[in-house]
């Protein structure tokens, strides 16, 4: 009985390690960011190929980033005009687009050294966690603030990265707005541009 219990526990543990789905992140925003940073660091320092690294980083992003929320924010006021089919299509395309840009930005780094410095509660929905990407011989030190969505305090999610005060979500929002305004607010043009980027 004891032996079969141990065997079962071992199998579950192995399955969890393979799937990474049993690992729950901390509910404390600062600890949550520290865990993500450490997990990403292990992947980026591994000898895996760029594609394998991108796949593993995507898995982290799917669990820790509010991709749907970022997508809706990025679309600005246009999101209110979409039909439910268009919204579903947008959510699906945006997720692919987001994961591609997210992993592409990260896989350029090898052996990043990030210090989690402090956290500041902005209101009950948001906490800003401040981190420092330490300087190397080639690159200067970079301040990165993480906007953590804490509406569900047990499941914090990343909503934005603020690099030296520059917000990535806002930048993306203004990119999308520029494409829409240059094309008579036609959402299909934005879909086409995003798909073109994904398939590059």
């Amino acid at each position: 009985m004891k032996k079969s219990f141990l065997l079962l526990s071992g199998s579950i543990l192995t399955w969890c390690l393979i799937q990474s789905s049993c690992f729950a992140y901390s509910s404390d925003p600062k600890q949550f960011v520290a865990e993500i940073v450490n997990e990403a660091k292990v992947i980026l320092n591994s000898g895996d190929s760029k594609e394998e690294k991108a796949k593993k980083l995507s898995e982290i992003a799917l669990k820790t980033v509010d991709i749907k929320g970022i997508g809706r924010y990025t679309l600005g006021s246009k999101r209110k005009d979409l039909t439910s089919e268009e919204r579903e299509k947008y959510d699906a395309i945006f997720e692919k687009y987001f994961l591609k840009t997210f992993t592409s930005r990260l896989t350029d780094y090898s052996d990043p050294k990030i210090d989690v410095v402090s956290s500041e509660v902005i209101n009950e929905k948001y906490t800003i966690v401040k981190t420092l990407l330490l300087a190397t011989n080639k690159k200067p030190e970079v301040k990165i603030d993480w906007r953590i969505y804490t509406k569900d305090p047990n499941k914090p999610l990343i909503r934005d990265l603020i690099v030296e005060g520059l917000k990535l979500a806002r930048t993306q929002k203004e990119e999308f707005a520029s494409i829409l305004s240059a094309n008579n607010d036609d959402i299909n043009v934005l879909f086409a541009k995003l798909e073109e980027f994904i398939n590059q």
Binding site: G69, Y126, K138, K139, R147, I162, G165, E174, E175, I179
Partner: protein
């Protein structure tokens, strides 16, 4: 000669006041209308071409210099640049920052051997962000005006272009190198352009990967550059670190995904 310069500076101040709106700088908009988008997009393309052919290779070469030389050069440039910051600290009435800038300049120019080292930071005088006349106009209440891209110099707004011209009158380094009769010594104008060129190369060398990543991951590079430029200016004008306090984020409040 001096009278001419005072006249031009007065004209710029008046021009700056034409841009004044009822907004105070804390309400700075995070977007700006385009002056002439088509032309600006073309100029940005030209700038990026020039960057690939000239600035980026030079910046990559500069990066091969030993770290202490690069850090020292960067410190020395920053020390010279702080004189323009000091003029603007005073014009903005920010005496605390002016004291910090003046103190840093005095210590780094002497104990720091012409600014090559930064002993002032170790003595508690922290390095603060640069100030320019465009920021001063914003602090005085001037709206940004429309956005466009200048050849070589890059993204700007109507206000910041007036600021660029104003900087030449407020920058002691420009005045000394363009006036042959300062303290009975002659300084060549070329020195000013060497200083500005080195500053640009130093900046570019620190941003090789980030600009590459932006180009690679943008579906509209022009819009990304515009957004980053305007966000950066808002931050610098407000002298705030956390941009949540300086930028309107009400849009996030409507997004409820939990």
């Amino acid at each position: 000669m001096l009278l001419e310069r005072i006249k031009t500076l007065s004209l710029l101040l008046v021009l700056g006041q034409f841009l004044v709106s009822t907004n105070v700088y804390a309400d700075e908009k995070y977007t700006a209308n385009e002056c002439f988008e088509g032309v600006s997009r073309g100029v940005l393309k030209f700038n990026m071409g020039l960057d690939k052919a000239l600035f980026k290779p030079v910046a990559k070469g500069y990066r091969n210099l030993p770290v202490p030389i690069r850090v020292g050069t960067s410190n020395a440039i920053e020390n010279l640049r702080s004189l323009l910051t000091l003029s603007n600290n005073v014009l903005q009435g920010d005496w605390q920052l002016a004291g910090n800038t003046a103190g840093r300049f005095a210590i780094n120019s002497t104990a720091g051997i012409l600014g090559f080292f930064d002993p002032a930071s170790k003595m508690g005088l922290e390095k603060k962000s640069r100030e320019d006349f465009g920021q001063t106009l914003a602090v005085w209440g001037s709206d940004s005006g429309c956005y466009f891209v200048l050849p070589i110099l890059g993204p700007t707004t109507a206000r910041d272009t007036v600021g660029l011209i104003g900087n030449t009158f407020l920058d002691p380094v420009y005045q000394i190198t363009h006036n042959t009769e300062v303290m009975n010594r002659s300084y060549s104008e070329h020195n000013y352009y060497y200083y500005k060129g080195t500053d640009a190369v130093d900046f570019r060398s620190k941003n090789i990967e980030s600009i590459e990543s932006l180009e690679k991951n943008s579906i509209d590079f022009y819009a990304s550059v515009k957004s980053l430029y305007l966000q950066n200016r808002i931050q610098k004008i407000a002298n705030e670190e956390i941009s949540d306090k300086t930028q309107d984020d009400s849009d996030w409040e409507e997004i409820d995904s939990q």
